[in-house]
Symmetry: D2
Subunit: 484 residues, 4 copies
C-alpha cells in the first residue's frame, strides 16, 4: 500500500505565516507530511509553478433560507452554493441555521440538517441565527447546541422578522461569555432604517438606489458603537459582520485600541461595488437591484477605507455574505417587476468570486501579502469559529483542503463559469489575474479547471469547538458573577 493517498508536488505552499516550496503528503484525508520531496503516493498532482493554498473558508453565506418579508427565495441550495464555492477555491462553508420566531432552535437546526442532506460537496458547519431568545432557548437549547458544536450565533439589530433588541443581545452575550461561544452581529439601527424607508416611500423615492439613502453611514456607525458598548459591558468578544462604512470601521478601530476583543468582517461588495452600482436616482429600469445588499455599497471614496481595514488588520475576515436571488419573481422581484426598494430581495451573490477578486486586487497589487490573503480568506475564519486546526491551514494533521492557484492566469469573470443558480454576477466582465485551477477537499479532488467533480452530499457536517477568539479579556465593566 502506498504511503500516501495523494502527494501534491512542487508547489509554493502558503500559510498565514509562510510561503515555502514543499511536497504535501495526504493520507486518510489529512495532511500527513510536508517535505522537500515525497514519493510513494497513490496519486501525484503536479503543482510546480503554482501556489498551493488552504482552501478558502466562507463563514458568511446564505443558502436555502426562507424568504423574508420581500418574498425572495435563495437561488442556491446546499448543492449549488457549495458547487459555486469550490469553483472559486473555497472548501468550507459556514451557512446559517435560522430560527423562526416561535420556533425551537433545536428544530431549526434539524430543519437545516434536512435541507443539507445529500447536497453539500464540501464540509460545512452552522452558525445559528437567534431571533427568539426565549427562556428555554437561553436556558436549555443554546447551551446544549453549543455543546453539540454550534458554537457561534448571529444576531440582527435590524429586519422585522429577525431583529433582537438590546436587552436580548445582553442575554445572549452573557450566555456566549459563559459558554465560550462567538457572537456575530449585523449592526444597523433598525428604527432609523424604517423611518427613512417610510419617508422615502412617501416621497416616491423607491428605486433601488434609494436603498442606500435609507441606510446611511451613520446608521451603521451607531449600531456598531452600540454593539461594541454592549460587548464591552459584559466583556464578551463579538464579531461585527459585513462592515461597510468608514465610520463603522473607525468605531471598531477605536474599540480595538481600547483593548476590546472586537472583531470585524467585510465583504467584496464593499471593496468592488459602490452606491452607483445600484443605479441612478431617476433610473426607470430597476437594473441596480442586482447590486442591492445591506449594508449598501457606499461611495467610491469609502472603498479605500475598507481596503485599509484589511491591510491594517482591523478586519479579521473577508466573507462573501452570499445571498443569491435571481433577477425575477422567484428572487429579487417576488413582489412584482418594479417594487419599492424595500420589497426587493436584498443581497448579492459572491461565493465563487470572493477569493479571485481579493487575490487580484489585493495580492497582485501588493496591498496585501499572500499571508494576509490566506489569513483573511481561510485561517482566521477557522480560528474565529472553532474549526482550527482542522480547517484553514496547511499543517500536519489538518484536513487536506487545498486549492491550487495559477497566479498568472487572467480571467474575465462571467456568471456562466460560477456554477451557481443566481443567473448573474455583480462582477460580470471584470478581469482578474490569478485563479484556482484545482481544488481538493480532504484529499479528494472536487474541482478542476472550473468543473466541479465532487459528488453531491460528500461534504461532512462539522461540530465546531469553542473558539479561542471568544475567550473574554477578563477585565469586565461589571462583575461577571452577576450573570454567571
Amino acid at each position: 500500500m502506498a504511503r500516501f493517498d495523494l502527494v501534491v508536488k512542487g508547489g509554493a505552499v502558503a500559510t498565514a505565516t509562510d510561503t515555502f516550496r514543499a511536497d504535501i503528503g495526504v493520507k486518510d484525508g489529512r495532511i500527513a507530511a510536508l517535505a522537500d520531496n515525497l514519493e510513494d503516493a497513490a496519486e501525484v498532482v503536479d503543482a510546480s509553478g503554482r501556489l498551493v493554498l488552504p482552501g478558502g473558508i466562507d463563514s458568511h453565506c446564505h443558502m436555502d433560507q426562507p424568504p423574508g418579508l420581500d418574498g425572495a427565495r435563495n437561488a442556491d441550495d446546499f448543492l449549488s452554493a457549495t458547487q459555486s464555492a469550490v469553483t472559486g477555491g473555497t472548501t468550507t462553508v459556514i451557512p446559517f441555521a435560522q430560527q423562526l420566531r416561535g420556533q425551537s432552535l433545536r428544530a431549526a437546526v434539524e430543519d437545516y440538517h434536512r435541507k443539507a442532506e445529500g447536497k453539500p460537496v464540501i464540509d460545512y458547519a452552522f452558525h445559528l441565527i437567534v431571533t427568539d431568545p426565549t427562556p428555554s432557548v437561553l436556558g436549555q437549547e443554546l447551551p446544549a447546541l453549543i455543546g453539540d458544536g454550534y458554537t457561534s450565533f448571529k444576531l440582527y439589530m435590524t429586519y422585522d422578522s429577525l431583529k433582537v433588541n438590546d436587552r436580548q443581545i445582553l442575554d445572549i452575550l452573557a450566555l456566549a461569555r459563559r459558554e465560550g461561544a462567538m457572537t456575530m452581529i449585523h449592526a444597523e439601527n433598525t428604527d432609523c432604517i424604517e423611518w427613512l424607508t417610510e419617508k422615502l416611500e412617501l416621497a416616491g423615492r423607491v428605486q433601488p438606489r434609494y436603498h442606500a439613502t435609507s441606510r446611511p453611514n451613520v446608521v451603521e456607525r451607531e449600531a456598531t458603537h452600540r454593539a461594541i458598548s454592549l460587548a464591552e459591558l459584559l466583556d464578551t468578544p463579538i464579531l461585527l459582520v459585513h462592515v461597510s462604512a468608514k465610520e463603522a470601521i473607525e468605531q471598531i478601530h477605536w474599540a480595538q485600541g481600547r483593548g476590546l476583543k472586537i472583531y470585524g468582517e467585510t465583504c467584496p461588495q464593499y471593496l468592488f461595488l459602490s452606491e452607483e452600482d445600484m443605479g441612478g436616482f431617476d433610473d426607470d429600469d430597476w437594473h441596480g437591484a442586482r447590486c442591492m445588499c445591506s449594508p449598501p455599497p457606499r461611495d467610491k471614496a469609502n472603498q479605500e477605507f475598507v481596503w485599509r481595514g484589511l491591510e491594517q488588520g482591523i478586519f479579521s475576515v473577508l466573507s462573501s455574505d452570499h445571498s443569491p436571488f435571481t433577477l425575477n419573481k422567484q428572487g429579487k422581484f417576488a413582489q412584482g417587476p418594479k417594487p419599492p426598494f424595500s420589497k426587493i430581495g436584498n443581497g448579492v451573490p459572491g461565493i465563487a468570486t470572493r477569493l479571485p477578486l481579493l487575490f487580484s486586487e489585493g495580492v497582485q497589487t501588493g496591498r496585501l501579502s499572500l499571508q494576509q490573503f490566506v489569513a483573511l480568506t481561510a485561517t482566521n475564519h477557522a480560528k474565529l469559529y472553532g474549526l482550527h486546526p482542522k480547517k484553514g491551514t496547511i499543517a500536519i494533521g489538518a484536513d487536506a483542503d487545498l486549492a491550487i492557484w495559477d497566479k498568472d492566469r487572467e480571467v474575465t469573470i462571467t456568471w456562466k463559469m460560477l456554477n451557481d443558480r443566481t443567473g448573474y454576477t455583480p462582477y460580470e466582465g471584470r478581469r482578474v489575474k490569478g485563479w484556482p485551477v484545482e481544488v481538493f477537499s480532504r484529499g479528494e479532488r472536487v474541482m478542476r479547471e472550473g468543473e466541479v467533480t465532487a459528488k453531491p452530499g460528500r461534504g461532512q457536517f462539522m461540530r465546531c469547538a469553542l473558539p479561542e477568539t471568544a475567550v473574554p479579556r477578563g477585565r469586565p465593566v461589571v462583575d461577571p458573577a452577576l450573570f454567571a
Copy 2:
C-alpha cells in the same frame, strides 16, 4: 416722578463678556441705563465692593411632578422651589410640564399651569416632557405649543414610564427641526440598566451604592453616541442633559469637532459628589440614598473631566437637575425603609447651591473666569431656550434680574439656610467662598441676606422664542425635504 425706579450703584457688573464698574438704572422692571453715574432714582441700592451678576437661570429643575414608579413625591412645589432658587441667586427657572402616557400634551401643560398658579416667586417657563408622541401630539399639539412659547422639550431614553424609542426620537427631532425647537435628551441605555438592575437584585446587591453599578459609564456613553447619531442623521441640534461620565463627554467633544450642533449640560453633583457618597457596598444604613441620582455620580477621578468640560466649553450650561425628595416615606423611601436602590426616589436637591458651589470652586480657584460663570449659569440657558435677551444678561432692555454677590463672604452650607422642603442637602457642611446677598427680579427685591422677600405668585410665565441655538447647520445626512 423719578427717572429710575431703582438704581444699583457702584457694583462690578459682569456679563458673559465683560466686567465693568457701572450703575444700573431700572425702569418698569427693565434695565434702562448703564452708566458711570446714575441718579434720580426712587430707590438706590449700594453695590460698591460687590459683584452684580445676571440672576441665574436654572433650566433643569423638577418641581411638583408626579411620583414615578418609586412612588417618591417631589418635596418642592413652585413656591418652595423658587424660594430656594432665589436664595442661591437664581431668578429664572424652567421646570418641566410632563405628559403622562395617554394624556394630551396640552392638558399636561394646563395641568402644570394650575400647579404653578399663585406660587412662583420668580419668572418661569416650561420645557415639555414628551412621553407619548402620538400622531395628534406630533401633528397638532406640539407645533401649536411651540407657537405658544413652549419651544423646548425633553426626551428620556430610559425610565419605563417616560422613555421614547429611537423611532419616536426621530419623529420628534424631525418636528423640532421643522419648527425650530430645542430637544433635550436624557441619554442612558435603558435595556442595559434594566438588565443590570435585575441581575443585581437577584444577587441581593440592592444598597444605594449599587445604583452606580447599575448605570456604568458605558451605558451613558452608548446612549450619548446614539442620540448624537440620530441628531446628525436629521441635522437637528440637541442638548444632552446632566452629562456625567468622561466617556460621554468625549463623545460630545468628538461630535462638536465634527461640526455638529451638539450641546451639553452638566450639574454640580458630577463636580462635587462621587459614587462613594452613595455609601459602601456593605452599608446597612441606606444613608447614601440621599446622593442617588441618574446618571450617578462617578468616581472621583471623573470629576476632573467634568471640570474640563466646563473650562473648555464642551458644556454650555450648568443646571441643578433639582429633584427634591425627602428622606422619608413621602420621598426617597415611599416603598419602605430599606428598599432596593431601584425603588428609592431618584434625584438630589440643589437649586440653591448650584451657583455658590460653582463660584467657589470654579471662579475663586481660577478654573473658570467670571464670564464663563455667568455664561454657564445664566446667559447660555437663556440662549438655548429662547429667553435671551429678556433674561440671562445685563443689557439695555433686559429684565432687571440681578444678583448682588459678596465674593468674599465665606459660608458653611447647611440645609436650613436653603429655603427648600427637602430636609437635607448633599453639601451639608461644605464651606464655600462667595454668596449672593441680595437678589432682584424685574427690579423688585426678592431676596436679601437669605430671606426671601418676594410674594408668592409674583413670578410670571414666559413664552419662549425659537432659540437661535436650535437652527440646523444646513448640512444634513438625508434630504430634509423628506421630513419637511
Copy 3:
C-alpha cells in the same frame, strides 16, 4: 457743557454676548453710558437701522517690517496699514516689533516705536518677535518689556532668519509661564519645508503653485503637535497663529479636549482662497504669486473645516495676517520677474477685507451668530492680549471704538477702495453684503463712507496687561519649581 461729547443714537448695539437697541454716550473718549435714550450731547450720530459693533481688533498684521531673505518690503507702513484697517471697521492693531538676530530686543522695540511715530490713525500695541533668545534677552530684556506692556510674543518654527528651536521655545515658554505672558507660535516644520523646497527646485518645479507643495498639511500638523507638546510639558498657554489645515485643527481640538489651554487663530485666506488661487502647475505668468502666503491656502474641501473651527470655538480669533507686498520689484518680485516660489515675497494683504468677508459669508449665511463675529474679530483679541476691557467691547468704561455697519449694503470689493498701498487685493471683484459705514476711535470719527478722516499719528500706543488667558492651568507635567 454737554453731558456727552458724542451720542450714537438708536443703533442695534452688539457685544460678544448681546445685541440690544441703545444709545451710546461717549465722554472723554470712553463709553460713559448705554441707555434707552440719551440726550445732551455735543454731537449726535444717527445709527438707527444700523449695527453698532466694537471696532475690530487685528492682532496679527505686519507693517513696516524689514525684508526677509526674499527681499520683499512691506508695502504698508503704520499710516497706510492703519488707514486701511479703519476702512474695514478695525480700530485697533497689534503689529510686531521684530528682533533681528544679534539685536537687543529693547532696541528692536525702540526701532518700531520710531517707525510708528506720527503715523498710526488708530491705537496700537506691539507683539514682540523673539528670534534670538540670548541669556540677556531671557534674563533681563523680556521680563522688563513684559512689565512695560509688551505681554505677548511670537515665535517662528520656520524661516531661517526667524526660527527658534525646541529648546529655545522651552526657554521662552518657561519665561512666559513665569511672567504671565502669551506666546504665539507659527507652526510649520522647517526641515520638511527646506527639504521639499530644495527637491522641488532641483526638479524645476518653481511656480507659485509649488509653494503649496512645499508645505503640505502634514508639515503644519507636525509642528502644531510639537508646539502643543512643548506647551503641555510646561503647562503654558499658547496661541497657534494662522492655522490652515484640517489636520492641524484636529490637533488643536484634541488638545483642547485634553483640557490644555491651546488657543487657535485663523485668517480669511483659509476661508476664501485655495491652492488653486496660486495658479496652475504649468502656469507661466506667475499670477498666483499674489495669493501666496504661509501656511498656504489648502484645497477647497479644507475650507469647510476652517469654518467649522470658527463655528465650534476651536478658534478664538480671526486675524488678517496682513503681509502687504506689491506685485513688483519693491514687493513680491524683489528677486526678479519670475523667481522660484521660495524667492517670492510671501504674504497676502487683508487688513481691510477681514471683517466684511467674515460678516458676509459667516453672519449673513447663519454660520456664525453676530456675537461670534464680535468675539472672533474684536473681543477675544483683546482678552488674549491684555487689552480688555479697554478695547474689544462695548461696555461702560471701555474706549469708544465703534464701527457702524450697514448690514444690508452690498459691495463689490475692489482694491481701490481699501486705502492700502499693496496695489491689489486677492478678493478683487468678490461681492459681499454688509459694510462698515462710519468708524470711531475713542469717540473720534476716523472713517466715513470709505474715507479716512483721522489725522496721522492720532493713534496711541497701549501697554498691554497680562492676559487672563495666559494663566496656566496649574496641572503641569513637570514641577514648575524647576523653572520658576
Copy 4:
C-alpha cells in the same frame, strides 16, 4: 547514510499560525520534513510533552558597542551576549553596527565584523546605526551596504553623539524608500530631555529616579508623532523602537488607523518594570540605577497599555533592547559611585529573560495566544528585517532553529543562570512558568538545560534581504519622483 541528521520527535510544534503535533526532520541544518512520523535519523530528540518553537529572534540588542558620554562599556561581547541569548531560547540576534561621527559607515561595519569574529554562538545580522549621513554615506555607502545585506538602520532622535535632525531623517527615509530598506527610530524629543535634565541637575534632583522625570510621556509622544509625520510625508515604512508610553502607543494606533505603515516594538522592561524600580526620590543608595533605561519604565498603570498594544497587534515585535552594564565603574558607574542620572550607564540587560517573561505572563495567563508569542518573539522580527523565511518559523526549507520548551517548568529567575556578564538582572527573584530546555541552531544543539553547548564563533553572519514590510504604500503625500 541516514535520511535526516536530526529528528525532533513528538513535540507540539508551533508557528505564528498553528500548533500541531509533528516530527521535524532536519537535514543539512534545514527543516526538510514535517510529518506524523519520521524515522531514519542520525539523532533523535524526544520532544513529547514539550512545545517546539522557532528559536527567538532578538532584533534589538546591544553588544560590544563603544561607551557613550557616560563612559559605560557594554558588559557583553558577541560571545557572552549570544550565550545568554540561547540560554533564554533565542537563536538569532540582530545587534547594531554603529557609525561614529566622522567615520565611514563601511568602516563601522568592518569594525563590528572584527568584534564578532570567532565569538557568536548563533547566527546574526547587523542593523546599521547612522549618526552621520554625509553625502558619501547617503550617495554611496548606504546603497552599497543595503545591497550587501545590511537592510535596516536605526536613527536616534536623541543623545548628543547619536542624534540626527529632522532633515537628516528625511534624507535617510527617502533613501530607505528608494532602496527598500527598513528604518528604526528611537523617538524622544532631545531638546526637552536636555532642558529638563539641566533644570533637574540645577535643582539637585539627580538620583536615578529623576531619569524618569527628565523624559516624561509627552516627550516620547511628541517625537513619535514627528517620526510618523516624516514617514507619512515620504510614504516610507518605519519601526518605532522600544515604545513605552501609553501616549506614544496611541499615536502609533492612530497612524495605523490612517493606513500608514508604522510598526512598533516594545520591550519587557515596559511590561514588568515601573518608574518605582528606579528608586525613590530621596533614595541615597542609587540602587535604582540598575533599572534605568530610555525611554524609562513608566508608572504601573502604563503597563496595561503596553500589554494591550501586544494583544491588539499595535506592536509587531517584542525585543530586549539588551544594554548590559555592570553595576560598577566598568559599567553604570564609570563616572563615579553616585553620579547624576545623566552620567549613569543607561540600559538594562534582558536578552535571556525576554522570552520566559513574556511566555509566563502573556501565554500562561491567556493574554496572548501561543501564536502571538511566536510572532512577537520570532516570526515578525524575521519579516521586518528580511530574514524570513530562513529564520523565524518552522517550515520546510527554514533553518532548523528550534527551541524546545517545557511549558510547565517553574523557574525562579536569578542572574547566575543567565550566562551573561552583567552581574545582575532586573528580574532577580521573579518566578515564571515555562522555560526553554533545549535549543538548536541550524540543527545543532546549542543549549541544554541551561548549559550552552555551542562553540564560540559557530554563528554565521547573514545578509538580510529587502523586507516586504518596508515596501511603501504607494500613496505618498509628495510626489516620490522628487526624491527618486
